[in-house]
Amino acid sequence: MLLQISEPGMSAAPHQHRLAVGIDLGTTNSLVATVRSGSATCLPDEQGHALLPSVVHYASDATVTVGHAAQARQNQDPANTVVSVKRFMGRGLTDVADAATPYRFVDEPGMLKLQTAAGIKSPVEVSADILKALKARAEASLGGELVGAVITVPAYFDDAQRQATKDAATLAGLNVLRLLNEPTAAAIAYGLDNAAEGTYVVYDLGGGTFDVSILELTRGLFEVRATSGDSQLGGDDFDHRLHCWILETAGLSQLNDRDSRLLLTKARQAKETLTDHASTQVTAQLSDGTLVNVELTAETLQQITAHLVQKTITPLRRALRDAKLGVDDIKGVVLVGGATRMPHVRRAVTELFGREPLTNLDPDKVVALGAAMQANVLAGNKGDDDWLLLDVIPLSLGLETMGGLVEKVIPRNSTIPTARAQEFTTFKDGQTAMAIHVLQGERELVTDGRSLARFELRGIPPMVAGAARIRVTFQVDADGLLSVSAREQSTGIEASIMVKPSYGLSDDEIGKMLRESMQHASDDMHARKLGEARVEAESILNATRAALTQDGDLLNDTERAEVDAALTSTEAAIAGHDADAVRLAAEALNEATSEFAARRMDRAVSRGLSGHKIDEI
């Protein structure tokens, strides 16, 4: 008898190479790479371009054009040429309301959509069109069907943005082996290439997102210590700033969409030219014949975008703090993303760390190469090198509790996969349902956090307040995706969802939330105190009311009036905003009912003696 022996997770036929790719789905450009004969390479298109511009054009005859051909049409037909769609992934309409774009957004609940000549398209569909082009390129180049793909996402992407990316891949017919954080992918490519050991910082400034990750590299292990970033900051913002500067300098205003897009393209080209030139001329002819001709120096570019560079330093410091590391503990800084080519960005990083950053890998390709290496291992093509990757979640996860407060369940920078369970109880007698509201972010108040999902646990058997025990479990998988389940412990009633958020935060909100959570720590503290005091006071109120209904006859009129007065003043205090006043009123109420409580206890005991169970009282 023949026994087929295979390692878990590996193909039964290890000699057969399984085709897998790594895809960097970028804001500006996308790439696909694979491992061939032991080394990772980016797969070029027929013209030899490795970079596929992340641009999709939709024509009225439903023809979809992706990449360079679509880019060529963007000045003529901006409304139907979608660029930087990554910025809209997992986002709602209100989130992009202030973004200067030529698109016609469709007002629908959930993720925003775009009206194009070929119909309404969601960002997931547009991203899927980019992925389809890369898949076709890879299959033509490798001569076979793909087993799967590793798709990279910014480390600072939240659950909605990750889920949207995974959906796009599925829509493109790709089997997603793993969502991989971009800086981690870069670290793999860099680390394996240089046999690096020690603690490294990856500074990843892409077209539309900024990530910073701190990783510890030891033999065969890539361990992310902390990550931070800004999912709405990238090279695009430098282009926009420059675009505005050109308008001001040339004395222009109110451009049409075509001219606006033209100048934006010119701005980007000028920025790129200044990477190795001290100055450049920006020239363009607008549709009404106006000639634009302004000189731009590297110094001016640095001045007008200094605040954007500064915006990257805060997350960098925060990541160091979270990792409990100082600048001196860092062995090297790896630069990733096309925007890190800007000399003044490099200078800022050099200054902070007191050393030159590492740039020996192409910052445009390094993410795709790392993703390809990971895809190769995940597909079961184990080579000589074997390594393990341990990543983290970028933002804390929490639940809404009474008083509009967020109870953090999984703190940011926890190693994934991870799960945490928390017990909650009912607040009112006989309560049979409980709403579960899942949030992401660092703030203490629900109204300041990003709402991920709401669901309801029904059918809790009626019990006295506080008797039900509801255990809510958060599970974050290796893709960084969250699922939540809830279970009432005494009855086993269960509810669970794969968190599929349909609504996004406003553009800057994630970064803003973090900043504000620090700035407003004291506001939050006060609000938290007030919230907690209210919850406490309300539960005493409820208990008193229930007790009066049941055993009100134990009090004479004078006593009853005293209790009623304490009830009223507690209600009034709850309506106000003074935490101490609420607490004092609740204490007074407790005091006023202590004699009443003692008499109820006596009654309960005498009933108990006459054959009742104590829990029936």
């Binding site: 410091r317 703090r321 393990l388 926890s414 991870t418 599970q475 290796a478 620090m518």
Partner: protein
């Protein structure tokens, strides 16, 4: 994928069930287990295997986090010995300890108001020393004397100190960012 979910975190990592811990041994054992069970090892496996590896890797992470932190490790060790640390219910602390806590809080608040990061960093350093002292005491109580009740009190104290540590961290962030 044989894995015993009922074993203790200490047994899982092949460590003695003591508060004293060889961090290098823990780290090595942790990495070895993740290398074996991490979902990346099962990306091409069937759904049942994927699910099991997710559960195991999650447990290994939880166990590592628990043992890595002195507070969580002490709490867990007491729990294994049937002792509830009553951190949320038992607030009866020695008066001098509470007085000291209030002093800490006032000093932190003052330094924060004055936006004095150096002072906050100095407080951080002093607190780290106190935490180390308390950790040494915990090792004695748990490993030598098996004085569970006193150890539970020490755990509650350590919880206070960890909270102060968080407060200093938040204050520094609030001043810096």
């Amino acid at each position: 994928m044989p894995f015993d979910f009922s074993q203790s975190h200490f047994v899982l990592f092949g460590l003695p069930t003591t508060f004293a811990l060889d961090r290098a041994v823990l780290d090595t054992a942790y990495r070895k287990l993740q290398a074996e069970f991490h979902p990346d090892r099962f990306a091409a496996a069937d759904d049942a295997q994927k699910r099991l590896s997710l559960q195991i890797a999650t447990r290994v992470n939880e166990a590592y986090q628990t043992l890595k932190s002195p507070l969580a490790r002490a709490r867990y060790l007491l729990q294994l010995n049937g002792v509830d640390t009553q951190e949320d219910t038992n607030t009866a602390m020695p008066v001098d300890f509470l007085m000291q806590q209030m002093e800490w809080r006032e000093t932190i608040a003052d330094a924060k108001t004055q936006r004095n990061v150096d002072e906050l960093e100095e407080l951080n350093r002093q607190l780290a020393e106190e935490i180390t002292e308390l950790t040494v005491e915990l090792a004695e109580l748990l490993d030598e004397q098996h004085a569970w009740s006193d150890a539970a009190t020490a755990v509650r104290k350590l919880r206070f100190l960890e909270k102060l540590n968080d407060e200093i961290g938040n204050a520094i962030e609030a001043v810096l960012f």
